[in-house]
Amino acid sequence: MIDPNYAHPEALVTTEWVATHLNEPNSRLVESNEDILLYGTGHIPGAVHIDWRADLQDQTMRDYISPEAFAELCSRNGITKNTTVVFYGDKSNWWSCYALWAFCLFGHENVKIMDGGRDKWIAENRPLTREVPNYPRTEYPVPAKRLDDEIRAFFEQALKQSQEKKPLIDVRSPGEFKGEVTHMPEYPQEGVLRGGHIPGAKSFPWKRAANDDATFRSAEQLKAIYEREAGLDPNGETVVYCRIGERSSHTWFVLTYLLGHKKVRNYDGSWTEWGNRVRAPIEKG
């Protein structure tokens, strides 16, 4: 059951809801995973696959796709501007939150997360299929712009946030925050030259927002963590970051949709940009 005390409880759906709404004409189920090949091994019937690397990112420059490419992505997956897009995936919904955030970058408003993600669906012995659905093509309008200024932070903005001592939430593991490692446990230590965190950032690992079954914690539990313990103001400006922006998308979703904070931005350059940037200030410990 979805906690009705979330600021936007409509942004979360249960596995049960998905199971009973598989054939809704105006909704589209989207699977987004870290495991590149996982969708092909079996997925929820009717779900399309959106890959965070191949579909959402520019293949040359480190950036997201253009509004034109986003419109094409939606059109070929049978998504219209009014389609309710329900995201789910592996890894406690990291990548589905990332995909949702990317859809929000282009102003797509009807978005939801399936609470508990792929693992919960499978744990409940719900059906999977390898059949790839084929939906009639739509003509998704090219978004007027990408909402980079509204929900995304760049290096300069994260630096300003740090210098002005405004809230910066580092959602990586404690070891990454302290600078002992440059990647989360169980992952290769690659790609970043320096460890530590952005000066002034507070450590609130993403996992604190999730239960063991990958569902989100209750509204009251989340308020206790982010508002009382971290001291975040629902009307204040907050920047969240991790290593490449996926775990922080999870926290961005929590703050924006479950707690209703108004001005949360995801610094997707995150530590792979900050930790490699010449003379970027770093705190350790």
Binding site: I36, L37, G40, E186
Partner: protein, 155 residues
């Protein structure tokens, strides 16, 4: 250098496939990874079960070297191991079956992009080489042990 015959066959198969079918075939191989686990009663000369940072879960490498110097691998994978790692496990167990430990060490790793494609290598550079590295590591340990045994015997 040429590859072991069974591995060559697999490489040729993948090279003949367009990318979408390459991925489908990797998924088929991944589905067979469960068949590579040690069977009840099997004996091995070397067992190396551990969790490394390069992989998302525990991987066990089990090596038996027969009297004719041919090697036989079994591999156990933890549940969180990624699909690509499962596929490489299945491919390598099949492709390297029967080669000698020294032949295994001599197999160049440049066949990996031919199987998984350059994109997946770029995105998952650690994952795609991990199982091969672990198998080579087991072969190296076995060879070093044999050299030590032979040296002791010759004294």
């Amino acid at each position: 250098m040429s590859y072991p015959p069974k591995l060559s066959e697999i490489i040729s198969l993948f090279e003949s496939l367009p990318d979408p079918e390459k991925r489908d075939t990797l998924i088929v191989f991944a589905g067979n990874a469960g068949n590579q686990v040690p069977r009840s009663g099997e004996r091995f000369d070397l067992e190396d079960v551990r969790k490394d940072e390069e992989c998302t879960d525990t991987v066990g490498i089990f090596l038996r070297v027969n009297p004719d110097n041919s090697s036989h691998f079994r591999v156990s994978l933890g549940p969180q191991v990624q699909t690509l790692t499962k596929a490489m496990t299945s491919i390598l167990c099949k492709g390297l079956e029967g080669v000698s430990p020294q032949e295994l060490l001599d197999v160049p790793a440049d066949f990996v992009p031919k199987i998984v494609g350059a994109d997946l290598v770029r995105q998952r550079s650690q994952t795609v080489y991990y199982i091969l590295t672990r198998m080579k590591s087991a072969a190296r340990v076995w060879l070093n042990r044999q050299r030590a045994i032979n040296a002791a015997a010759s004294v």
